[in-house]
Symmetry: D2
Subunit: 335 residues, 4 copies
């Protein structure tokens, strides 16, 4: 029932995925780890809930019978080797982007997976899992705005580290916009141009911002703004322009639609749609508190207060008058 | 490490919590269930991942040594009995609202818990776990808008079932607003009034909408609009008015601030803040696909396409010219 | 063709109305003024475009045959006398609020006007002329949100002068909300309550904010928040709650509608709707520049540049290539 | 004091400008008109408030001593002749766009105006007078978002007439975006490219939308989307991207700022800023009603009602109780 995962690479991202697999999500355990730094792998293995084996190499980890599926978070140039090994072992493998660092390496992975005859590889393009992007794709697929003719994609960072290069604005930054362009429009890219607007002086010598145009096979035109020293925040925006309207990413929320003389956001249909996420948080925190002896949420006192006030409000409804509320003293337990 | 949960009541809400505990959240298992309808309890027990015991009574379930913690989702009038039994058994208990159906019953629970000397009871006021409400509380507690003087709370439903009464507008609907008033303002209610605006004809004879005023001990005034036949959607809004500004619930997202001559929403500080939820979804869906043999997300082909387009874009950056992109034929595996 | 206006009271508001009548609007001239401070009246008369007579009393001004219509901007307690005199002289009179300072005085004006048999009096409730309020009223009257059941009205000021009293929160501040309640809902008020939320410490001893409830004859309930020390800005908001949706004042712009599962703003239907105001500003500034020898707007150089760039763009459209643009040197005249 | 204007061309635009000059704005009169259709010119002349002379030719109109300034609204190919004639007559001339239909003609006008030594010509680029564009320019000039690096400009129309060509998307549509690019950025254009996204099928054979890139001399990059069959409305948007933030056109209102981790709209500083436009409308409608015997706005009854309700509210403030309001019968005059 539980999926046993082996994690290759326990740097910042690897550790975060281990945390996620063991303390956030249902149905998974981390049973093995490895890292180029074996001591670090051993230390992490010791801290994994339930314990995990620290392997000396990725191949050993992949061969471990206690590993059902592999997560690759190591340095990019090692991705090809581990992904190919996982395919050879017939094990599902989640590979952080990039899949590999060269086109030829990507092709070798594709060939191996096609030869295997079933998909085993997933690449870490996580925007496809973002609620706003998914809502955007749903609007496109619904046909509500007609066939897309353009996509405006904006990718802004407050700042970047000193080793960031102009090529990284494409390979590390715009690569996300490139992936969502293909996914949102359901189409391949057939041409690309890059323009260099006036340089942002806050980026020093860096060629920043960039303005990238993608031509899709079906004719749609995509423009991508990358702006990685803009200070004011991390701002991801996207607007798909259709024949009869447009749809934009909301701010971490629902899509904004321009249609029928309105610019509109959706109102939820019911409480489930609005608050379903809150229920998940409520119960996860309760489970964690039960297990760790932590603090609980709304208390008996809260339940009591709600009862007293509700009764008073019903009385006020009936009488039309002000009704006083007196809860009495609160026990220290609930302070 | 795993918290074993017993669930009393396997109606719609009970089933949803079982689903949540077993397929969404980390660290929990459902090991026992019971219901006034024992056959239904048995059927649900059989479908729980890992299997669960179906008990004949709530007391038996609470006494089960395989139960670490109890969730009460049964009919309101039974809550007191089960919560008191859980306290007697020294087991944490999560009780769906209401805690109990009378003030006296709530008091008996408080007395038992105080006598026990440690909190065991949590009541299901889930708005406190909603991201927007939490962001709203964080603004209040930061002091950024000064001491609160008012809270405007709006609770709108498209429609309600035929058995809904005007008292339920208070005890089932506004009770959520009552709880968040106490929680957001960190204060108790000392008086209440209920006003009856013009009746909404879509609610037939129902006294709807209502307009409720709550006086807080510290002087703040709360108004609550309940409107349960307003058709256009489920719309929950809240604005806390402070001495120097106000803060409002965003639409399922961040807070809207009125301060310093601006009405403003926050921009995320970094990608983690913006996309952290997407990573959780990404991995949960991957685990589910690994376990169930379902469809994976972004493919090797997607990784390859990103590599090819990125390379082309880097070339375009260097040359200043259009660069053609040709991916070759896509293997059927990725269609 | 031109309406000759006499202005009683040349304080701040009177001067502003004279400016408006003579330099902003079409079809009016100011031919006479008066003030309790005769010297000031004379000074203002001398500066009016075209010149104006300074009268010693309001009655003289009203009797002046060169006065077609009267504007009353004097101190409130004098309003009744001047409005009654204007009615006696059969002249239209625009009276700044309040119409008079007592109910009995208002009644006397009504009696005189009714006896005259035709409307002559207009009171300065200017919110009825605000584009956003008008759009709000249009939505209500369209029936798009059903019969109104509530109106939430918010009136916030950053600060008030030291002589401001809690009664003025009603008579000077909320009186605007009272007027728009009657106007928007097309209904009279039959009951009123005033609540006192926690005092804003920034207002010192002032009883501020207030929360006012109005009962309309047709059953709708109006709540008005006045908050006159809230620092962050001047914020006027209003939401009419109907049976099937709500409509809110936009920020100086169009109405925000909540209807059919959307929260939406209207998109203009055409350029006329979007830019009609700009044409007015464009021509008024041109007229003023012609008359006063001031600076003109877009120049021949701008027209030339547009022609050159347009030609280049058409060439680029045809060729698919970049087309260079060279305007040559700009003459100093256009610097 | 009054500027006497002669209007050349009394088609739709000419008539609208005559209406504006005579019934909306202060300080102008229309004293002469002409048109290629002399009968129409005579008819219009007869309907101008105060009367106007109908001239047989533009030259006669320009030479008319009763004409202080000229407005050119005739067919584009005639613009050069009339503008040059106005310059020769030393009269200010407002010329609807385009200034002239060829670059050479524009140059001849510039040469004549430079030879005259003072500006006489203004071209009808009215976006520079739009409140939102002006607010946008003010933000740029304030330095609040740093030096601009990009401008995204969007120009959408619901539909266009059948004779509309792809060249007109540039010369009639994008020419506005071209002008505001130069004006907002205070810079000249040095290069231009035009891209053709997937064709919108609603435009039939028309090459629509277009995507235009402008290179500014200072390095900033401008992109313009024209989309003239998009059905959902007339939507003009613009975002200036600076080094530390961005500023966008609001929807007919104030600017939206992205700065310091906020996306924010400004709140007015005071009532004057919020309602100044309403005062203008209020008085213009009152003047028109006085002159034409039309209906007045807020009545004595409204002033009386405000007084009665205010008194009741003050009493309610003092007593803390509900106070009933009774206005008595409303005279028919105010029905
Ligand atoms: Mg990633
Ligand atoms: Mg609940
Ligand atoms: Mg006023
Ligand atoms: Mg124009």
């Amino acid at each position: 029932m539980t999926v046993n995962v082996g994690v290759i690479g326990v740097g910042m991202i690897g550790k975060d995925h281990i945390r996620r697999l063991t303390t956030v999500l249902a149905g998974a355990a981390v049973t093995a780890v490895t890292d180029v730094n074996l001591d670090e792998a051993k230390r992490v293995a010791g801290s994994v809930p339930g314990g995990a084996t620290a392997h000396g190499t990725g191949q050993e980890l992949i061969d471990d019978r206690a590993v059902d599926a592999v997560v690759v978070c190591s340095w990019g140039p090692t991705h090809e080797e581990y992904v190919l090994a996982a395919i050879a072992a017939s094990k599902p493998v989640f590979c952080e982007k990039p899949l590999a660092t060269t086109q030829a390496a990507c092709r070798r992975i594709i060939d191996a997976e096609v030869a295997f005859g079933r998909r085993l590889v997933q690449v870490g393009y996580m925007r496809r899992y973002d609620a706003a992007y998914r809502a955007l794709k749903a609007v496109i697929d619904s046909g509500d705005i007609g066939t897309p003719t353009m996509l405006h994609s904006t990718h802004r960072n407050p700042s970047v580290p000193g080793h960031y290069t102009r090529e990284m604005a494409i390979t590390d930054t715009a690569v996300h916009d490139i992936d969502v362009s293909r996914w949102l429009l359901g189409d391949e890219i057939i041409g690309v141009r890059v323009f260099k607007p006036r340089k942002n002086s806050l980026g020093g010598e860096l060629e920043d911002p960039l303005f990238i145009l993608l031509e899709m096979a079906g004719g749609a035109l995509v423009d991508i703004e990358t702006n990685v020293n803009i200070r004011y925040g991390y701002d991801i925006r996207g607007e798909v322009v259709g024949e009869t309207g447009t749809a934009s990413l909301g701010a971490g929320g629902p899509v904004t639609l321009r249609r029928n003389n309105l610019v509109a956001d959706e109102v939820p249909a019911d409480w489930r749609e609005r608050f379903i996420g809150a229920y998940d948080v409520e119960f996860q925190e309760w489970i964690d508190a039960v297990r760790d002896g932590g603090t609980f949420g709304p208390s008996s006192w809260d339940g009591y207060a709600a009862a007293v006030v509700s009764d008073a409000a019903v009385e006020a409804l009936h009488s039309g008058e002000r009704v006083a509320v007196d809860l009495g003293d609160q026990p220290d337990l609930y302070a």
